[in-house]
Symmetry: C2
Subunit: 321 residues, 2 copies
């Protein structure tokens, strides 16, 4: 017998708020949020759906983490320090309580890791699949939020981590791809299930980058978003795009890796004069950062090979419809 709605909130969700009296232990209709002088509140929201953004066979705790991390990655891309979030959940009545407890345990462990906490939410019965919606709050120094629109001709283009791992992990999970090396397979799947928000790197970039966003639609598509918002063109050098060893070992089509999406790495630009500061800052946060392209006048994204020849890509990223 599963707990009632009120019992679930009181016993399983309210502990996620216990560090913050202004969440009122989820016993009121709203939470209060303070914004310190000198800061602006950064707000981002995402909805994640069963069958679209996650699968029911994914571990419940990883789904909880992905729901939170997708928004934390958005905040990281904007240079904001995460503070708190509200979460709405819709689930079928038949969903076991143990699943919900595991989902919340994923949130709880991430709360510690990323120093955020829950301040509110909503739960509802769903007559169809599971659906989650999370709105995350962060702080950034007034006027300093990193935008998509700040890239200037001449800027370097950088990307964090490695690209394409999550896409490969998803292909392995969906049995569209065979990976005999269990260690590599597990690592790639982990990159899909538990993306790593680049929170510390994002904070450092507030003073260094000219434009930034997190890569969720695919490297090429998100470079396109940055180019469009900044009214510039971007050239990506295929050979400089960081690909992990487990990904390389699978001998994938590189074009698929850079258009696959779900990377949750940071893509950002900076003036050449600050190149070494940017790489030093990345080094300090322990996140590998690679210079992968340049910004110029014009529009659109071009991917070039080592000889500077344009590579034709058939797809440029994930769209919902």
């Amino acid at each position: 017998m599963r707990k009632s709605e009120f019992e679930l909130i009181r016993d399983i969700f309210a502990p996620l708020t216990e560090s913050d009296p202004k969440a009122f232990a989820l016993r009121d209709d709203a939470a209060l949020l303070d914004v310190p002088t000198g800061f602006e509140l950064v707000v981002t929201t995402d909805m994640l759906l069963e069958g679209v953004h996650f699968q029911m066979q994914d571990p419940a705790d990883a789904i909880g983490q992905k729901v939170l991390r997708a928004s934390l990655s958005d905040l990281a891309g904007k240079g904001a320090a995460p503070i708190s979030y509200v979460l709405s959940c819709a689930w079928p009545n038949a969903l076991p309580q143990a699943w919900i407890e595991s989902f919340v345990s994923g949130l709880a462990s991430d709360q510690k890791q990323f120093k955020v906490h829950c301040i509110g939410g909503d739960t509802s019965a769903s007559t169809s699949g599971l659906a989650f919606s999370l709105t995350a709050f962060g702080l950034v120094e007034t006027g300093k939020m990193l935008l998509r629109s700040g890239a200037r001709p001449g800027d370097d283009l950088f990307v964090s981590g490695t690209i394409g791992d999550a896409w490969l992990g998803l292909q392995i999970l969906k049995k569209r791809l065979d990976c005999e090396d269990e260690g590599a397979s597990g690592w790639l799947i982990g990159r899909y299930l538990r993306p790593e928000p680049r929170t510390c790197l994002g904070r450092k970039l507030v003073e260094l980058a000219t434009a930034s966003l997190d890569v969720s639609d695919g490297l090429v598509a998100d470079a396109g978003h940055l180019a469009e918002a900044s009214k510039v063109s971007i050239t990506l050098r295929m050979d400089d795009i960081p690909i992990s060893q487990p990904a390389r070992d699978l001998g994938p089509d590189l074009a698929e890796l850079i258009t696959g999406g779900d990377d949750y790495e940071l893509l950002f630009t900076g003036p050449p004069g600050r190149r070494s500061e940017i790489l030093d800052a990345a080094h300090e946060t322990g996140v590998p950062v690679r210079r992968v392209g340049i910004v110029a006048d014009g529009t659109g994204v071009t991917v070039v090979d080592a000889g500077g020849r344009k590579i034709d890509l058939t797809s440029t990223g994930f769209r919902h419809f």
Copy 2:
């Protein structure tokens, strides 16, 4: 042929944000929100699902309004002035663009009426039903948010508007109830489809009420929430509970009206010494307010008849599971 995801956001949703440059026309990954000195940000979130909170045969613009008004009503219950919101939408690919445009037109007209605007959101394809999640933001003077927990023994209990109309409207819509008077039927259905957030009244109550919340689970259930949070007992006088003429004319079971839910009226308490100020404030906002009960030591909610005899209620309100 429906517009693509990006076109929908640019052409249909972005105009909802045009009054606010810090929404970046929905072209960035996050919005910025300022909180003026002397105020706290009030945050509330709700998820509304097809088949649970609304039906596909409801008018699309009314669904848009209900999604927004459910949260505006929460803010009103807390005494907060609404400022902005973020909205996530999941809809099937087969949903016609005209439906989406009508949904957004409902939001647009409510934005004018309630002086709020959209600052962000997310859209996703749904493989099952429609789902919406809205997080609303309001401002309240620091330390002044109306809580559920402030009621004290001796306080009066008040309710705004009339109770049970929305429940009757839903019964008529679901053809569980026959209402031959078309005018009355339309009015009751309207009370279900387009709840009226008591925003102006809520703002006035900041200086007058001791506890407050909006009635969504049913008058008796929400009185119970107030009693529990305030650690007091509440006695509701059945004969004083405001029932509209169209509702009375249907000769319904009053117990069903006061447990039915979806009223989105304000239920609040205040010291007897401020009774006339409270009624004057209500009069100024044009919202009828009725004194319906008293707060005392103890626990729980009792409903009594004109002779003070306890009325037994079989159900105490809507629960999701």
